[in-house]
Amino acid sequence: MTARNATLVAALGILLAVPQFVPPYFLHLLIQVLLFGFIYTAWSIMGRFGFVSLGHGAFMGVGAYVPALLWNYYGLTPWLGIPLGVLLSVLLALVIGYPCFRLRVVGHYFALVTLALSQVVMLTIVAARDITGGSLGFTPNAVGHSWYALQFPEKSYFYAISLVVWLGGLAVWRSIDRGIGREALDAISEDEEAAAAVGIDVMREKLRVTVISAALTALGGAIYGQYFMYLNPETVSGIAVSLQIVFAAIVGGMYAALGPTVGSLLTLSLNEGLRIGFGTNFIGAANTIYGILLILCIIFMPRGIVGMLETINFRRFRPKPVPAE
């Protein structure tokens, strides 16, 4: 076992032991950090290759609402409802992604088309208020502790679930980072025409990351719904959450595996810290500072916090790669 692996195992052990030691409030925060870290990681799977989607609220919304609706109206277990929601998100991603990539809708245009998508999903949820409760939100029927309904009043269960999906998200991120398509995707993000000219299947590569990203985001949305047991179109879809996803990922650093999670940790602790520090008299104080941070971050360190740390600290100390034997 190398030193690196030992560190990883130790970190995992600490993460697993956390629920035994921290008060419920902190556990609640940690669950959110992991869940949103997972969603931001899912976004960065696309974002890091320059496919900036402002529409991930759409996938999160579909992922959250589909299992909840199926559960309330048909009593369908989330074990089936969640895969259905994820599937629907993937279909949505294909319906938008395929024509976009075929017609070379890129950059600003891609960002704005996806923004429209997230608005479509949010407004559809609001418009179908007879079924979804509209802007008042939607509460899944609670049944107490149940594996069948995937509902657990105990926070430690959701901590474990969030930890698992978060680790899964990191694994997916890593497999794409190390995978064979990585160079192809980098080439596409540099110059699509040139990438196509050297024989890269641009469409296939772009669709692949888009579908993965949408599916993971939908899964994150679903678990968000199961945990909070309350859905609101404004908080799970639409422009606000879509931008929140993009910005947290960028502030943390979308080119590093842990970047989006750092973004999640930072934004959440900023929010909570200011909320506790200022009380409710200063609603908006957190986001005011957050907004300034975002602007500064994009101007001065477009690679995010983790990206910045990597270039400053660790390059000097990183051991030389050992040649293969």
């Binding site: 900036v52 950059g107 600003h108 479509v120 993009v246 907004g291 602007i295």
Partner: protein, 284 residues
């Protein structure tokens, strides 16, 4: 055709005027500086608060408050350019879009901090005009007329004045213009100020019709982007036409279904059209 539908269509045309005005401002900035200000609708929100504060809290005359609001948003526009866009003018366009997205967060929450999330109204109610059984709000009529006037003024400014010519030249080829002795930086500043002033004008017109709250930009901001893209980003005439197409979809859809569904229709129409004509309705 029944009266209510006709009323909806007329209201749609009137709404289109204000949207067209905003689309013009955004298109001007995109065409010249090559940046999408995601926070453009939130500048309008700032203008509406300026009107509210000056008129309702400080008791200024309405016309003076309007003038001050327009100047205020124009200055904001310049500040946006100097503080946010100028430092990253050379980086990827998407970064500039995202930086103004940070501005969106900032403006919305700063407005919340100053004015809370309460809906505020300047309390000016213009009369409703009846025309052969059709009711038209004169606030909307005024907004429409002023928006058209603003558009025409902008047209003549761009066509006839020296700075206007330079602005159009930059939109065509930003590298050659420098060789012709035009200082790009000052043109960018003027463009940002005009874009801001248009947002300020729209703010004045909207404050006669709507309550202002910190998130009002979210309700029509996405619409303006759709309109600009639909018309072809940077294509002002296209944006103008698209504003009326979109506002008709919303008006007629709202008449037959509901407001939200009409927006869903408009956005879906936009997405579909992007696939049919990826560079805007006006391209050949």
């Amino acid at each position: 055709m029944d009266f209510y539908l006709l009323e909806a269509i007329i209201n749609g045309i009137l709404l289109g005027g204000v949207l067209a005005l905003l689309a013009l401002g955004l298109n001007l900035i995109f065409g010249v500086i090559d940046v999408v200000w995601i926070a453009y609708a939130d500048l309008v929100m700032c203008g509406m608060y300026a009107v509210y504060w000056l008129y309702s809290e400080l008791g200024w005359p309405l016309v003076l408050a309007f003038a001050a609001a327009i100047v205020f948003v124009a200055v904001l526009g310049v500040l946006v350019h100097v503080l946010i866009i100028a430092p990253i003018l050379g980086s990827a366009p998407i970064n500039q879009l995202l930086a103004t997205g940070g501005l969106l967060f900032f403006l919305q929450s700063f407005a919340t901090l100053l004015f809370s999330t309460e809906f505020r109204n300047i309390g000016v109610r213009l009369p409703i005009i009846e025309l052969g059984g059709i009711y038209i709000s004169s606030a909307r009529l005024l907004a429409f007329a002023m928006a058209l006037l603003g558009a025409v003024a902008l047209y003549f400014f761009l066509k006839r004045s020296f700075i206007g010519t330079a602005i159009r030249a930059i939109a065509q080829d930003r590298d050659i213009v420098g060789l012709m002795g035009v200082d790009q930086r000052s043109i960018y500043l003027v463009t940002s100020a005009i874009g801001g002033a248009l947002a300020g004008l729209a703010a004045c017109l909207l404050s006669l019709q709507y309550d202002v709250h910190p998130y009002i930009g979210n309700t029509f901001g996405p619409l303006i982007f759709m309109i600009c893209v639909l018309g072809g980003l940077g294509n002002m005439i296209g944006g103008f036409v698209a504003a009326f197409i979109i506002s008709q979809i919303i008006a007629i859809g709202g008449y037959y279904y509901s407001t939200e569904l009409s927006y869903v229709l408009a956005f879906t129409f936009f997405i579909v059209l992007m696939f049919v004509r990826p560079r805007g309705v006006m391209t050949r």
